[in-house]
């Protein structure tokens, strides 16, 4: 087994991987940018290497810098997490050329599945159903307009190199295509250094259901049930659950077996996810493969009892899977909420800043995968994901009730988060019935319909607390401003920076 693993990532997923390393007796090593000098992943690691300025392009996206750290730190292996370099086949090649193990698939499999267009072709050849659309990258806006007219609106533009909703745009009408095409290419270029986009038929009220796979280097394949990830904003998942409210054992088997056929075709090893769209009649279509650990992996872990990160590491170390398909049993139901630093009331606008209070929930059936701590300044440069809050319970209704309880317990002050949004979603009849699709938020989230029920007593108490708080703090402020001048420039610097010295 490896002695040292370098984690080429940040935030909650870096912390998740650090924890797996600790439990396996492996020394976790991390990298950090300027904005992350005192990030949680740095605090929890054995070693931390500085890799540059805050923008990802100068730090976490720099394959060269990461490879240099791999060599300097004498790491045995690198775990890429998700995002950043996790689906960069050239990075895999550079790592392997340096004699270091990449915890993920082969560069070939990654390249094949990472190119959405080749992946479609491969899925077809594996006899898996696919969504109608372009078979090759769009050469021009003119071509996009032509293809869209052929398959009919609505259509979806997607980055060929993409994932995570970056470079994706839904286009409902012909006149919107030009603007969307430009933005999608610009985002794709910024996120993946590759502006190539393609186009697909947009399925009406589709559910996003994906199959989690594990495959070892010996050619053993298992599927670990599905995840329903239909609740999305900006084509990015915000709530995920396992199992899907619609999935019967038979549908699960059909999707699982199709997923394994696709993965086998690519000679894939590592954890991997085959994403499907399912229409209202429960027909399903191959969407894409994610050749890496998925953000929402905790719900699968909670329901199957299998630790996906540890399995990734064992597979990378050459160990065969220690279980077969018949050993995999789903128990109960798990739901994950992605706690983003976003103002859901204002179209999920990013809301970076300092976390002045952080009190996560605990107790039975709660799992918190966080990348932040109280006092941390959430940087403007990266994904707004602060933490993943997951619950498990014996049944879906109990899991929903539990999620309501834990969201009520969760206190974050200083920045806006998606917590109030989740509380609202949980009360909606469609969610409770499991009647989900990727248009759920657009259809059901009406933030401006503010809660207008007046509560005189709460108003009075809020006003009273404001007065008492003001009374305490106006004194404090006065005395502080008197004394600050006596303090050293060094101390002022600390104060100004907030974090760090």
């Amino acid at each position: 087994m490896f002695k040292k693993i370098l984690i080429a990532n940040r935030g909650e997923i870096a912390v998740r991987i650090i924890r797996a390393c600790r439990e396996m007796g492996i020394s976790p090593i991390v990298v950090y940018s300027d904005a992350d000098r005192s990030a949680l992943h740095v605090r929890l690691a054995d070693q931390a290497y500085y890799i540059g300025a805050s923008p990802s392009i100068e730090s976490y996206l720099s394959a060269e810098k990461i490879v240099n750290v791999l060599k300097e730190s004498k790491a045995d292996a690198v775990h890429p997490g998700y995002g950043f370099l996790s689906e960069n086949a050239k990075f895999v090649q550079a790592v392997e050329q340096a004699g270091i193990v990449f915890i993920g698939p082969s560069a070939q499999a990654m390249e094949m599945m990472g190119d959405k267009i080749r992946a479609r072709q491969l899925a077809k050849s594996a006899n898996a159903p696919v969504v109608p659309g372009t078979e090759k990258p769009l050469e021009s806006l003119e071509e996009a307009l032509k293809v869209a007219k052929e398959i009919g609106y609505p259509v979806m533009l997607k980055a060929a190199a993409g994932g995570g909703g970056k470079g994706m745009r839904l286009v409902r009408k012909e006149e919107d295509l030009a603007g969307a095409y430009n933005i999608a290419r610009s985002e794709a270029s910024a996120a993946f250094k590759d502006a190539t986009v393609y186009l697909e038929k947009y399925i009406v009220r589709p559910r996003h259901i994906e199959i989690q796979l594990l495959a070892d280097r010996q050619g053993n394949y298992v599927y670990l049930g599905e995840r329903e990830c239909s609740i999305q904003r900006r084509n990015q998942k915000v709530v995920e659950e396992c199992p899907s409210p619609i999935n019967s054992a038979e549908l699960r088997r059909q999707m699982g077996e199709a997923a394994i056929r696709i993965a086998k075709q690519a000679e894939y090893y590592n954890a991997g996810t085959i994403e499907f769209l399912a229409d209202q009649e429960h027909n399903f279509y191959f969407l894409e493969m994610n050749t890496r650990l998925q953000v929402e992996h905790p719900v699968t872990e909670l329901v199957t009892g299998i630790d996906l990160v540890k399995e990734q590491i064992k597979i990378a170390a050459g160990q065969p899977l220690s279980f077969t398909q018949s050993d995999i049993h789903l128990r109960g139901a798990a739901i994950e909420c992605r706690i983003y630093a976003e103002d859901a009331e204002k179209n999920f606008m990013p809301n970076p800043g300092r976390i002045t209070r952080l009190a996560p929930p605990s107790g039975p059936g709660v799992r918190e995968d966080s990348g932040v701590y109280e006092g941390f300044e959430v940087p403007i440069y990266y994904d707004p994901l602060l933490s993943k809050l997951s619950v498990w319970a014996a049944t879906r209704p109990e899991a929903i009730a539990r999620l309501g309880r834990v969201l009520d317990e969760y206190a974050i002050d200083g920045i806006k988060t998606t917590i109030p949004f989740f509380k609202e979603i949980l009360k909606q009849e469609e969610f409770i019935k499991g009647d989900l699709d990727t248009g759920y938020i657009e259809r059901n989230w009406h933030p401006n319909k503010s809660d207008s029920t007046e509560n005189k007593e709460l108003e009075h108490l809020a006003a009273l607390v404001t007065a008492i708080h003001h009374n305490i703090n106006s004194k404090k402020v006065t005395t502080e401003s008197n004394t600050t001048q006596k303090q050293s420039a060094w101390k002022l610097n600390v104060r100004a920076k907030g974090r760090g010295f």
């Binding site: 923008p55 970056k166 933005i183 610009s186 985002e187 910024a190 996120a191 900006r234 630093a341 976003e342 204002k346 606008m349 990013p350 809301n351 970076p352 800043g353 002045t356 209070r357 403007i380 440069y381 990266y382 994904d383 707004p384 206190a411 002050d413 200083g414 109030p420 509380k423 809660d451 007046e454 509560n455 007593e457 709460l458 108003e459 009075h460 108490l461 809020a462 006003a463 009273l464 607390v465 404001t466 007065a467 008492i468 708080h469 003001h470 009374n471 703090n473």
Partner: protein, 163 residues
């Protein structure tokens, strides 16, 4: 002690005294007697008629945000010393496009002098991997561009002015 607090479009006068953890208050003419603790800074736990209320207060430059249960109130202490409020200067023909959150300017889509329609994109700002095209608040033309691509901006910073 006495203070006036603005909350939910009202101004409430509060007159209160504290004795150990017991607070007696008259709020907008209503009498309250309650137990008040502060388990942690900026958090207040109130016991009133045996009901438990936990409130957190965030103080911003202009006002306070008070959270209690699922409600969020914006409150403000009325400053008696302030001589007559400044009214928002009627912006007549001039309107600014400002950054709704901290971020980086990715692209400036217009030049000074360009005509713009209401809603037409002027500046694209990126924060946390999300690009936001900020549109003109009105039909008019661009009189000032204050930023350039690559620049970091703070929340509320003026990016361009439309006349």
């Amino acid at each position: 002690m006495k203070l006036e607090i603005e909350i939910a479009d009202k101004t409430l006068s509060i007159d209160w005294e504290e004795n150990d953890s017991i607070v007696k208050a008259t709020i907008d003419g209503n009498s309250y007697e309650l137990t008040l603790m502060s388990p942690t800074s900026n958090v207040y736990t109130l016991l009133f008629n045996n009901n438990v209320y936990e409130l957190s207060v965030e103080t911003n430059p202009l006002n306070n945000t008070v959270k209690v249960a699922d409600k969020v109130f914006t409150t403000k202490v009325v400053d008696r010393r302030q001589r007559g409020r400044k009214t928002d200067s009627a912006t007549s023909g001039t309107q600014a496009i400002s950054a709704p959150m901290p971020g980086r300017v990715v692209q400036v889509l217009k030049n000074v002098g360009d005509e713009v329609k209401s809603g037409e994109g002027v500046v694209v700002v990126e924060a946390m991997k999300m690009q936001n095209e900020l549109g003109s608040p009105k039909n008019g033309h661009v009189t000032t561009i204050k930023v350039k691509a690559g620049q970091t901006v703070v929340a509320g910073e003026v990016l361009a002015i439309i006349e």
